[in-house]
């Protein structure tokens, strides 16, 4: 396999090339619309949908598809033998600061990398189906975002991870602010970026403190390489405040219940193609950070704050579910359901045992696979409902659009974790893990499973069945839209039939990741619950 750097930087390179070269060929004939809003409106009518294939869009598509191919290669090439890193690239980036450019594939990130490339390829394809104002810049930012997210997943150096983690927000800032929906796109994007960067910057300070304190512990040269840091555990007191800083960054990103304030505005303003990857992938970086960085580096703090984190997760599940079945904006239904789903993932991670963590990892992939097609379906539905994304104005489409309805049904059933779906396996493992750790929390969390079926079915019924909405024009999915949707649904079905595919490959890495936290938990178990109350 080629080095990981190619996978990371290829999308960005395609974006840069697409931005620089003059648009020589214009495949699409109609490029009359200039603004994104009118472009979106024109796409409502099948006859007038001017899919202006811009050069930069095609280049972006090529880049993201090649990246997808590479990541499939890494999955196929993955040896599920042990937790060791594979395909390691290790170059000293800044020797003075001990920062390495170290990348590696492990059982923790291999499927998330696959998910990222898949969703980006689907989203870029979806973006190519309509014309954008200033397409060169749009695809440049889009591709830069893919590179940054891949970098965050693959980084095996704490400072590098933080750099990618912060960097990936910037393209989204431009994407939302430049191509988002009025009226509040600029306000929403500034709110989103400040919210998430506040967490990230706290993490920056915490990460530097980790490196410095660990090097003082070891008495050696400062380093940020994860494996070296793991060998130099910090004192419990330092771990605790550093843990809180990291948790702030990751919980905002997910988003978890009290820190989700940016989510509704941000989701409403985002172009839906961008939202597909934002909701599908970026939230996973936070969860991945807990699993790959926080648990191995700060095991004692993780054990110390276990109950707090479980309660935050529980609150997210209940709050997210409750709002998901009261919202009428389809985007926000999906958005709040993500809050609930991410709550489940957090729950699994902080069960601090292998079952919970494995369930969480599987659920991260599942949720990404489900939420991206869900948003795309919302886009299709709103085009059929005269541009409205309100559930009350949709409805009655299923009869005339059987293919779309069946695809949507598969996605909706996966969302509610129907037995037989991979989401069911994920949630089952999570709850099993929590059951072993904290019985009472697991019992309450079960209610979240029930609520998921309520909001998922409510969305499905409201959009597809019921009375035909006032402005609804039913028609089935087009082949081009099907090209985006069908592969995603196919992967959902594949994982539903064979979840072992992912579980088996990630098992040893997950066990290693939670081992020290699990160990820290066991002897302290009686006290850790008591010492939670501040």
């Amino acid at each position: 396999m080629p080095p990981l750097s190619i996978l990371i930087w290829l999308p960005a390179l395609c974006g840069v090339v697409g931005a620089i070269i003059p648009s020589l060929l214009k495949v699409g004939a109609r490029t009359t619309e200039t603004s994104a809003e009118t472009g979106a409106a024109s796409a409502d009518e099948p006859g007038a949908s001017g899919s202006a294939w811009s050069t930069s869009g095609i280049l972006a598509l090529i880049g993201s598809v090649v990246a997808l191919g590479l990541s499939i290669g890494y999955i196929a090439d993955f040896h599920s033998g042990g937790p060791a890193l594979q395909h390691v690239t290790d170059i000293v980036w800044i020797s003075t600061l001990g920062i390495h450019y170290k990348l590696g594939v492990s059982g923790l990130n291999v499927f998330l990398v696959g998910l990222t490339t898949l969703l980006f390829a689907a989203a870029v394809l979806a973006s190519n189906l309509r014309s954008w104002e200033r397409p060169k810049l749009f695809y440049f930012h889009f591709m830069l975002a893919e590179s940054a997210v891949l970098g965050a997943f693959l980084a095996q150096d704490l400072a590098l991870f933080v750099a990618f983690f912060d960097l990936m927000l910037i393209p989204f800032y431009f994407l939302i602010g430049g191509w988002g929906r009025e009226p509040d796109r600029v306000k929403a994007t500034i709110k989103l970026v400040i919210y998430t960067l506040v967490g990230s910057l706290l993490m920056l300070a915490a990460a530097i403190a980790t490196g410095v304190l660990a090097s003082e512990q070891g008495g050696g040269h400062i380093t940020f390489v994860l494996t070296s840091l793991q060998a130099l555990p910090l004192s419990k007191g330092s771990q605790e405040w550093i843990f809180l800083f990291f948790a702030a960054a990751f919980l905002v990103k997910m988003p978890a219940f009290p820190l989700h304030g940016w989510m509704p505005d941000g989701y409403r303003a985002m172009p839906i193609e961008v939202l597909m990857v934002f909701s599908g992938v970026l939230s996973k970086v936070g969860a991945y950070g807990f699993l790959a960085i926080v648990l191995p580096l700060f095991p004692q703090a993780a054990a110390h704050f276990q109950v707090l984190m479980l309660l935050i997760a529980l609150a997210s599940i209940i709050y997210g579910s409750a709002l998901a079945f009261t919202q009428t904006d389809a985007r926000l239904v999906a958005g709040y359901s993500s809050v609930a789903q991410l709550g489940f993932i957090t729950l699994g991670i902080f069960a601090l045992n292998p079952q919970g963590a494995q369930g969480a990892l599987l659920q991260m992939v599942n949720h990404g696979l489900v939420v991206a097609p869900l948003f795309f379906i919302i886009l299709l539905l709103s085009r059929r409902a005269g541009g409205s994304e309100d559930i009350r104005e949709m409805g009655g489409i299923a009869f005339r659009a059987p293919v779309l309805a069946s695809l949507f049904l598969i996605v909706a059933l996966a969302t509610l974790a129907m037995p037989g779906s991979s989401n069911f396996v994920g949630e089952f493992l999570i709850l099993l893990g929590v059951f072993k750790a904290k019985l009472a929390i697991a019992v309450i969390a079960f209610s979240g499973v029930v609520m998921a079926s309520v909001y998922a079915l409510r969305l499905f019924i409201g959009a597809m069945h019921n009375r035909v909405g006032p402005k609804v024009k039913s028609r089935d999915i087009t082949v081009r839209d099907g090209l985006v949707l069908v592969p995603l649904v196919a992967v959902i079905l594949f994982l539903a039939l064979y979840p072992q595919f992912a579980l088996h490959r990630s098992e040893s890495s997950v066990k290693t990741a939670v081992a020290s936290a699990h160990l820290a938990l066991t002897p302290l178990s009686p006290q850790s619950t008591a010492s939670i109350t501040p």
């Binding site: 750099a163 960097l167 800032y173 920056l204 530097i208």
Partner: protein, 553 residues
């Protein structure tokens, strides 16, 4: 008689090689001043700035020539070491960028080019002195040599008719008064230090403070406190920063850019010299106080910048905050701290210059002056201005892939290693607040339409209400050359005023292309990006600089 003869022979040995960068600057200033007296317009408007650049290039060459020479010259009054030389290089970079930004500026023209550039070079000379001073008398001398030309430069007005001149005069006067208070405070502090230790040499002060309990003596501590206050005036550290926004806003933009970067470099340089060499033994006394000052500065600067509609005021407050970040490197008094400060100073110059260059360009192109509206919508049609400004603002906010991120990383690293973890946290809290004012500007650049009043770069649509045959025809002909500017002076400029249209306080200065401003913006933006991705060359440079202060860990 014989006594007198021996006395005159006893002058110190002068190492002219070590002194050569300073001599080049001050000699060059004299030449520039004289060339500025030539009657030819071309000589004044073109030759003078070119000569100034040549002088700076010569100073740079001599600085590089002296590289690696660790020596004290002039009887130990100056020290030519890598710290001084690195600071010199940063100062030269800032000075050269200023000369380029001022090339077409009316500020230089209204003062006569020669004087303006001579003042600028003299001021840089003062900064050179500060960067290598080893003696409290020289610190004061350098500070005054730096400040007095700056007082004048601040007041070099913008246009003979515009209201800008008054603001510029006000700015200069304000700076003069407050700067003098700062200088006086510092002088008083240095006098008290002399009283306590009986020495003016840094090394002598250091050894005096290391013996007995002099380091905790009230006289010494009062002296140190007054020195802190005096230098804080110069570095615009809160609560001594109040002059900064007003002066920055009122001064001509090239001068503002120069003040923002070069003065800060010099002030932080002397902070490093004075506190990490002379007062190092009293570190336990002054470090917590300076750390608190740094925290206050970070908060005050960042909060003050929120909601500013004038870009220069915003960058003024931002520079206050950045001074707070950099003080963290002084506080810890370690080699790592010195390196982090010098590193940040270098990237700070690049980041600020990019922004100021864009402001200069837009001030000349539009009628909106330095307001945020002036840069609104430039992402659409002026990518070569939009990208440098975006990169520079992201860098100032500390976003990865810019040098600002590495710089902040280094400073926090130094703070945590030096036992000031909370100061590191203060830096990131400051960065968070700073997003609240950097991001809206970036949003204006990329996500807003250009306001209707903004003039287009190609022709003077800003004054379209009035017939402007001259201004409209000439740019295509002469490309915004200074001849155009002066010819347009009596006739073409501000036709709106004569016609009776609403008076525009910021009339566009030039409508032609400004390659040198663009060059500064692109170069500084590219440097910000480059050192964010490949910072190692800069690290190698500052490692030498940190090694120069041998008394530190």
């Amino acid at each position: 008689m014989t006594l007198l003869a021996t006395a005159t022979l006893k002058g110190p040995h002068v190492d002219f090689a070590g002194l050569s960068p300073l001599i080049a600057l001050l000699g060059g200033a004299a030449i520039v001043l004289l060339v500025g007296l030539l009657s030819s317009k071309w000589a004044r408007a073109q030759l003078v700035p070119a000569l100034s650049l040549a002088v700076l290039a010569a100073a740079l060459g001599l600085t590089i020539w002296q590289w690696g020479e660790e020596k004290s010259i002039l009887a130990g009054a100056l020290r030519i070491d890598d710290l001084a030389l690195v600071l010199n290089m940063i100062l030269i970079a800032g000075g050269a960028a200023t000369v380029l930004l001022a090339w077409r500026s009316r500020a230089a023209e209204s003062t006569a080019h020669g004087e303006w550039h001579a003042l600028l070079l003299t001021s840089i000379g003062g900064m050179f002195l500060l960067a290598s001073a080893q003696n409290t008398v020289l610190v004061f001398l350098g500070l005054e040599l730096l400040s007095i030309p700056l007082y004048v430069l601040c007041a070099t007005g913008y246009s003979k008719r515009g209201q800008h001149q008054e603001r510029s005069l006000e700015s200069g006067l304000k700076y003069l008064i407050i700067g003098s208070v700062g200088s006086a405070t510092l002088l008083y502090g240095l006098a008290l230090i002399y009283g306590a230790t009986g020495a003016t040499d840094f090394s002598a002060i250091d050894s005096a403070l290391s013996t007995g309990n002099l380091a905790t003596d009230p006289l010494t501590l009062t002296g140190i406190a007054l020195c802190v206050a005096g230098l804080c005036f110069k570095a615009s550290v809160a609560p001594f920063h109040q002059w900064t926004p007003d002066v920055y806003e009122g001064a001509p933009t090239p001068v503002t850019a120069f003040m923002a970067v070069a003065t800060k470099v010099a002030a932080l340089g002397v902070f490093l010299r004075l506190f990490d060499v002379a007062f190092i033994n009293a570190q336990t006394s002054w470090a917590p106080a300076v750390a608190v000052l740094a925290t206050i500065t970070i908060l005050v600067g960042n909060v003050g910048a929120l909601g500013q509609s004038s870009l220069k005021r915003m960058l003024a407050y931002s520079s206050v905050a950045q001074a707070g970040y950099m003080l963290a490197g002084v506080v810890v008094a370690t080699k790592l701290g010195v390196q982090a400060t010098v590193f940040y100073l270098a990237v700070y110059v690049a980041m600020n210059m990019a922004s100021f260059a864009v402001i200069v360009a837009r001030e000349r192109e539009t009628t909106l002056g330095d307001s945020v509206d002036a840069v609104a919508g430039i992402g659409r049609d002026r990518p070569w201005l939009a990208w440098p400004m975006t990169i520079s603002l992201l860098g100032l906010a500390g976003i990865p892939a810019t040098a600002g991120f590495i710089g902040k990383f280094y400073l926090i690293d130094a703070a945590v290693s030096g036992g000031y973890t909370w100061l590191g946290v203060a830096i990131v809290v400051g960065s968070m607040i700073s997003l609240g004012y950097y991001l809206p500007v970036i949003a204006a650049i990329w996500m807003r339409e250009a306001p209707a009043g903004a003039g287009q770069p190609s022709s003077s649509s800003s004054t379209a209400s009035a017939p402007t045959p001259k201004a409209g025809a000439l740019p295509a002909l002469a490309g915004g050359s200074p001849e155009l500017d002066s010819d347009a002076g009596p006739l073409g400029v501000d036709p709106s005023v004569t016609v009776g249209a609403p008076v525009q306080p910021h009339a566009p200065e030039t409508t032609g292309p400004q390659p040198e401003v663009l060059f500064v913006a692109v170069l500084a933006g590219a440097a910000t990006l480059f050192f964010g991705i490949i910072p190692q060359p800069l690290f190698n440079l500052v490692t030498h600089a940190g090694g120069a202060l041998s008394g530190l860990f």
